[in-house]
């Protein structure tokens, strides 16, 4: 049997990157609405994700108003409160953070950073955004459905999630939530295939894996994890939907509902928890790993120093990605599962702290003997390190099984996951937007507004969540909309809650400064040129800014060096672009080793 070589659109030999035939849109609709250009899709994802984030932010204000000033706002009753916390949580984790890091940053940065013209499956990529938008619309529809959205907590534990004691349980709320999640997962799979395969297939000539910037490594690893972890949520959602709609007993044991026995038998609520957290734990790393990658690039660019220990950084990303699949039951230490599992999961959970710590050391060692420019992106990167270390360390309390026992389901957990997943990655998102806005728009964001945004957000968020840990230490449970009649709640607790609420409102309001900056700078921002930060990575070396359809003009770039040649001895500048052959800016074509 003779192997007939495949045509040009299919195969690319390593030393001879064939240019890909791109889809060229001609109408306004195909250019800006149903666009197959990853950059447009990225902006679409980002716009929708940030809008969902604003909704979720408002929901958090409503929750904090009730906690800080209980009973003052009569419309925030128990029903409403539980609906708010559920929607806030699910929106932020899945529809904002995951979509923004992977759909937003992934779509924009991956092709540019690896030297490709676009993603490898542009049509599917376009579909992925519209499916994501559909998922968002289905989720938001639950606000308008009879009974309102589900109030089961973002963890959606059965049996209560589908019973009448929980808002939306015996109505449309939970159905719309589960349907929305299933649609999101299908849409994400379409996008994730693109992110992963583009990194594997479409790298420019000379771009080996170890020359890729850590941003790409972070998003790539996270995308792969997400592709494998989201099916667990899908399975759980299908089975819960069946329990709710068809009366099956996947998760529903023999129980009574408000005193009336249900026609169910034998199902296991723990089965749902295993499935949910098998997704849920990798999910938090799916949010964290892109942040890790981006922060590495922000620090090295703005400190004019190569990221310290690049190899260990790559290995640590891969190790964290792999290990994240075997720690899930640390969310279930007090779930009533087999107690012996506690030994195993506590061990794996504390082991995962080691590669994570290595990354922290390497970030701060990149600052050491650097040339630190305290630009707005650098400020956000520094704040990330502070808040991530804080949040990550409190994770060690919770990961150590017996220490988790008094702390689980208290405000300590709420403080921990907000600090490590809510504050730290969001700071990276802001830093990344200040950093890459010039590439996307050709203009700089206003520096003064940026610094105001930074200081209020960083210090405010720290003031919100650091003291909250101590409420949890006292024993104050989470998911309580009312702390009345609790002996351990002293007046100072109410004072602290009120303080946290006020700071939260201030921090929330300050985000308007950022939104204003985004739109104002489109017209009035200082023109940035192609590489205002003097960075080495490929996306800054495009012939035009903003990059046009096809990114690179006539010729694809060729890569001669790794992504971190900052302050190289003997070079004429303190950075060497990845597509520059020699130490000096010689004419293209002259070779140098």
């Amino acid at each position: 049997m003779v192997d007939v070589p495949l045509g040009p659109a299919g195969a690319v030999a390593p030393a001879d990157v064939e240019d890909v035939e791109l889809y060229h849109p001609h109408s306004w609709v195909t250019k800006y609405v149903f666009s197959q250009d990853a950059k447009v899709i990225a902006i679409q994802y980002s716009f929708v994700a940030l809008s969902v984030g604003l909704i979720a932010l408002v929901l958090s204000w409503l929750m904090r108003l009730q906690l800080g000033f209980p009973g003052v706002f009569a419309f925030i009753d128990a029903n409403a409160y539980y609906q708010f916390i559920t929607m806030h949580g699910m929106m932020m984790v899945v529809y904002v953070l995951t979509a923004l890091f992977l759909g937003g940053f992934g779509n924009y940065l991956i092709p540019l950073m690896v030297g490709a013209r676009d993603m490898v499956f542009p049509y599917v990529n376009m579909l992925s955004f519209w499916v994501y938008l559909l998922a968002v619309l289905v989720l938001v529809a639950s606000f308008f459905a009879p009974g309102g959205p589900t109030g089961a907590g973002w963890t959606l534990y059965p049996p209560q999630a589908i019973l009448s004691g929980t808002p939306g349980g015996q109505e449309w709320g939970i159905i719309l939530m589960l349907a929305s999640l299933m649609i999101f997962i299908i849409g994400f799979t379409m996008g994730g295939l693109n992110y992963v395969v583009t990194v594997l297939q479409a790298r420019a000539r000379g771009m080996t894996l170890m020359r890729m910037p850590l941003t790409v490594w972070g998003i790539f690893t996270a995308s792969f994890m997400a592709l494998l972890a989201f099916p667990a949520l899908f399975v759980g959602a299908v089975m819960m939907l069946f329990d709710r709609v068809f009366g099956t007993s996947f998760f529903m044991p023999a129980i009574v509902e408000m005193g009336q026995p249900l026609d169910r038998n034998g199902g296991s609520p723990l089965l749902f928890q295993h499935l949910f957290w098998f997704f849920g734990h990798p999910e938090v790393y799916i949010v964290a790993l892109p942040a890790f990658g981006i922060v590495s690039d922000l620090i090295s660019t703005h400190a004019r120093r190569n990221i310290f220990g690049y190899r260990m950084m790559v290995w640590a990303l891969l190790a964290i990605g792999a290990l994240s699949f075997v720690v899930w039951a640390h969310h279930m230490y007090v779930s009533g599962m087999n107690p012996y599992f506690g030994f195993f999961f506590a061990t794996t959970t504390l082991i995962i702290a080691v590669p994570t710590a290595i990354k922290v050391y390497n970030w701060i060692l990149t600052l050491w003997r650097g040339n630190i420019h305290l630009t707005v992106p650098m400020l956000f990167a520094l704040a990330f390190i502070v808040t991530f270390v804080n949040g990550g360390l409190t994770g060690l309390f919770l990961g150590n099984v017996v220490v988790d026992v008094p702390l689980s389901d208290t405000m300590f957990v709420v403080a921990h996951f907000h600090m490590v997943m809510g504050v730290a990655p969001i700071l990276v998102i802001f830093g990344a937007i200040y950093h890459w806005y010039p590439k996307v728009t050709g203009r700089m964001l206003d520096d003064t507004l940026g610094k105001i945004h930074f200081w209020v957000t960083f210090l405010g968020a720290y003031l919100i969540f650091f003291p909250m840990h101590y409420l949890g230490l006292m024993g104050i449970p989470r998911r309580y909309h009312d702390l009345a009649d609790m002996a351990l709640v002293t007046p100072s607790v109410h004072t602290l809650n009120a303080f946290i609420t006020i700071v939260a409102l201030i921090v929330g309001a300050t985000q308007l400064v950022f939104v204003f900056n985004l739109f104002w700078s489109l017209r009035h921002g200082r023109p940035s040129g192609g590489n205002p930060w003097r960075a080495t990575t490929l996306e800054w070396q495009t012939p035009e800014t903003p990059p046009p359809h096809g990114n690179w003009g006539k010729e694809l770039p060729v890569v001669y060096r790794w992504a971190y040649d900052y302050s190289v001895p003997g070079a004429d500048q303190d950075f060497l672009p990845q597509n520059q052959p020699g130490l000096t800016r010689a004419a293209p074509g002259s070779s140098h080793g």
Binding site: G309, V334, G336, L367, R369, L374, V401, V402
Partner: protein, 268 residues
């Protein structure tokens, strides 16, 4: 300069907050003070790491801030340093994990002399069941739950005759005696949590979970539900009253008498 100072302020401020915070754990009322000890070890190690990292960052931000003639040092990696840091981290992690696992083993190993009691949760109240004179709890079934059998006791089981049922959330325990609390739910997930006892565990419908503890001081403590169980979750409260042995026995006899009266109303 300002940035470095603020970073130092964050680190120092956090430590000061920790030291002066009026918000600290409730004084322990059970034998699980080893949990508290492990918590303290963890605070020391993580606190030291946090302060060290942030102060180091502050130093770098100050010392290596951009100046016109500054050039960053070019050093792609330092294998020795990275290995040392990895090893030290591993040691720190082991230092927290090891005591933790030892205490966990204690936590799941119920002592021989522990008395069984049952803690029954439903939306949204706590009930309790004591084994009575035979020291054994009767079997139960969710399908048996009815208005006059709220805990679903199996009336055909001979052990059920002396079980003492306490509805409405006030459990009493004698001081100094280990107790194995069997946790059972009628409907959804709940969690039995008394902050002073430190121990807690979910109540899972369809199975029986457990915790064990020994009350070590008298007093009245709140029972808080610690697993979201619907809109009444924050109102699902109870009380545990730890008493001296003599007072406890007096209460117990009273409960037994009441139960007898309820089980055989016709006999009155």
């Amino acid at each position: 300069m300002a940035v470095a100072l603020i970073l130092v302020l964050v680190a120092v401020g956090s430590v000061v907050f920790h030291l002066v915070s009026p918000w600290w754990w409730t004084p322990i009322a059970s034998n699980w003070r080893y949990i508290d000890s492990t918590l303290i070890i963890t605070f020391w190690i993580t606190g030291a790491v946090f302060v060290a990292v942030v102060l180091f960052m502050a130093y770098c931000v100050y010392r290596f801030r951009h100046q016109p003639d500054r050039r960053a040092h070019y050093e792609p990696e330092n294998k020795k340093l990275e290995w040392w840091l990895t090893i030290i981290t591993g040691v720190g992690v082991a230092a927290m994990l090891t005591p933790g696992l030892f205490v966990w083993r204690q936590f799941i190993t119920v002592p021989e002399d522990a008395t069984d009691i049952e803690i029954f949760g439903q939306q949204w109240q706590w009930s309790f069941r004591l084994p009575g004179a035979d020291g054994q709890l009767a079997t139960t079934g969710a399908h048996l739950i009815s208005p006059d059998n709220p805990l679903g006791l199996n009336k055909d089981d001979p052990k059920s005759r002396d079980d003492v049922v306490i509805e409405g959330g006030e459990l009493r325990l004698p001081i100094g005696k280990p107790v194995k609390a069997l946790l059972r739910s009628a409907d959804v997930l709940h969690n039995f949590y008394v902050p002073e006892f430190r121990a807690k565990m979910d109540l899972v419908p369809g199975q029986v979970s457990y915790i064990w503890f020994t009350p070590t001081r008298t007093g009245t403590f709140d029972i808080l539900c610690a697993e979201l169980c619907g809109v009444g979750h924050p109102q699902m409260r109870g009380k545990v009253i730890v008493q001296e042995e003599s007072e406890y026995q007096a209460w117990l006899q009273d409960q037994i008498a009441r139960n007898f009266a309820r089980l055989a109303p016709a006999a009155n």
